[in-house]
Symmetry: C2
Subunit: 415 residues, 2 copies
């Protein structure tokens, strides 16, 4: 199996002003192609540091993937280092220049020298055309090894990788295959899930690895298999996944990259159900997650972010005395919100949340983290109480996940 | 200046199933303390790989910070490698055991052997207590060098770092200071901003570095200064920031970590203004962003996610004939939505968005990416038209940013 490494260039990543999503994206794609990603490193925008990393990583790995430092401004020096590293001079590429000219023209920006310089590439490389920006990617092959350089702007790098780099690598990379399969669970703690699954060896049979990856959205289980051929790896992964499903099936809401909002959206579409939301403490997060999915118009009818009590009364028709008697954060109000939004929207499902996101606003009786999630459908109204004492945005994440999961289980008859 | 490196351990990071936010968080905190972060590396959950990284990085840097692989399951091997690396045996720490016992008891989970093992630490280390989880952090000092190990669960690592690690490092780290100042702009392209600022040398005077960091939320400008003392570095950074403000001030909405929703929230609070939202294509994202800010109850009254035409008519009182005549995505409907939400909420400001998020639903006349943003206040109603042809979630991000920025400029009298 060929080894790969990823070099991310940029002071902003080292000092943490930008999160390195490029390395994670590349890590995924390279693994899928069948490269074993062994190391990823971040270095600053410093000539000697970049050169040192190029030397070290090309010596130790079969393929090196570099991102960052190709922009039009003075702090972008990657291309210069690459040219020096390969002893190649920079030459103007006509197609790249055409692309730069086109892109700027469409936005009515004049072609300046800084833009024109983006069309310079080291002689002898294969250009990976950037139709999503102005800095091209570059691929070098030397002695059976690969060296690719791409811009650091995430969506440009992603598109170049998907459109050009991955097909080229598929063509040229052979050998052992690695397969990862991820099962996503929610509503169960890591250690409880570990106990529930029992002895890992019984599940894995020595043929796969299993990792537990917890976050505020739940615990993901990653099965990793190496095999000579894709079919063999897939069949081992299938076998392991089936054993896990047997033991923990009801906690698993999706596989792979599929988020809960996408899995739920598919389910609602299949069942022909519509939903409307009444959110208080989540402030629109649940609506936002549902509408991140293309095609959500089919099932998402409307949402109300009823932050004030007036909004709850006026828009959702929650009786004012319920709020007076039980407080806005209460089982009673959550139920009335779910019923109210369902009634005014004429949807199959009404979902509500009301809670105390914090850090302020908690009391002895109703502490920060307390939240009621209500659901109303043809079978009636149910309200669940949770405690998610956590920092504000994590509280919102956890609440949104529990709310979406409640809908999923309810639709499947599990709740 | 002392050098630092960060080692992230975890197959999930290498293969990109988890984004390395730990390295970015640590990179920020270490820079602030005055350490120069020179490299960050990711290695898999493999004994030899981890040991090799420990040897290489302790040899090359003054301080090494390790995260990941301390969990309770079989694939977490970091503690074993650390103990072997320092030739220390694992001993039970009473305080850690007490913490583990407490935490599980509060959640009614029995203390199992896997949990008890979390209280084992290498002899001779300083324990960094984890009050947010069960795996403790560990700090080693050898020959004036530092070596810290922390769990990989982000909020646990962040809390341990902030509460224990940073104060310890502040006490022990001296020497040259590095200061970063970030000015956040939006509504202007990177190359236009570069041109607007003119020759970098005029602004920087050879005493600082300036980086351009573009994203869908705008371009951040990072000023970096090194100096012997904090006061000197701050005064140089002030000087550079002032020059940038002179040239591009109206595009700058905040400094540092402050997001647009926070800057805007502060502004609304200061002016005593309230806001309500009518979102269509952003699906609740803008409400979600505003309510991520603690204290937003003071100015955010309510939001409506009027995905369907019925919701626009029923909740926002948009005349049905406007939708029939001009379409839901039109200047006319955006204006009526902003006026409608303002009227029913009795707020100072009504903000609306309606557009085509894609990837489907576009036409020749109204392509994917088209969006109208409307604002209604005591001065009247204004609708801006934008084109953000982009992938769905990025479209939502860009639209939400433009909408919040419109409110900011309007409140400041700039729009």
């Amino acid at each position: 199996m060929k080894t790969a490494s990823i070099i991310t260039i940029g002071d902003e990543v080292l000092i943490g002003q930008v999160v390195n999503t490029n390395a994670s994206f590349l890590g995924q794609r390279l693994s899928e192609v069948g490269l074993e990603v062994v190391r990823t490193v971040v270095v600053g925008d410093v000539y000697d540091e970049i050169m040192r990393a190029f030397r070290e990583y090309t010596a130790n790995f079969d393929a090196v993937f570099v991102t960052g430092g190709l922009g039009p401004t003075h702090d972008d020096i990657t291309k210069k280092v690459v040219a020096d590293f390969f002893g190649a001079k920079l030459v103007e590429d006509k197609d790249v220049l055409e692309n730069v000219r086109d892109r700027l023209a469409r936005r009515n920006i004049p072609l300046r020298q800084v833009n024109r310089d983006q069309a310079l590439v080291p002689e002898g490389c294969t250009v990976l055309m950037n139709h999503w920006g102005t800095a091209p990617g570059m691929l070098f092959e030397r002695d059976g090894k690969f060296f690719a350089v791409m811009p650091g702007v995430p969506h440009e790098m992603r598109n170049i990788t998907t459109e050009y780099l991955v097909p080229l690598l598929r063509e040229k990379v052979v050998g052992q295959v690695i397969r990862h399969r991820v099962l996503k669970t929610t509503g169960i703690a890591e250690s409880s899930l570990f106990e529930l699954l029992g002895n890992p060896d019984d599940i894995l049979g020595g043929k796969a690895r299993l990792a537990f990856l917890p976050s505020q959205f739940g615990v993901r289980l990653r099965i990793s298999v190496r095999a000579a051929a894709a079919e063999e790896a897939d069949s081992i992964a299938d076998e392991v996944a089936a054993k896990i499903h047997d033991k923990a099936g009801k906690f698993i809401y999706s596989e792979g990259e599929v988020e809960l909002e996408e899995a739920l959206g598919k389910l609602l579409k299949e069942k022909g159900l519509t939903i409307a939301l009444a959110e208080s403490c989540t402030g629109g997060l649940i609506s936002n997650r549902l509408t991140n999915i293309s095609g959500s118009t089919a099932y998402f009818e409307r949402g109300v972010v009823s932050y004030s009590n007036e909004a709850k009364v006026e828009l959702l028709h929650v009786p004012a005395e319920l709020i007076r008697n039980f407080g806005a954060v209460s089982e009673e109000v959550a139920g009335a919100m779910a019923e109210g939004i369902r009634a005014i929207s004429r949807t199959d499902i009404g979902l509500s949340v009301t809670g105390i996101a914090g850090p302020t606003g908690g009391t002895e009786e109703k502490p920060v983290g307390l939240v009621y999630i209500g659901i109303s459908d043809s079978r009636g109204t149910v309200v669940n109480k949770h405690n998610f004492p956590d920092e504000r945005v994590r509280f919102k994440d956890r609440t949104s996940q529990a709310a979406l999961e409640l809908v999923r289980r309810r639709v499947l008859g599990l709740a």
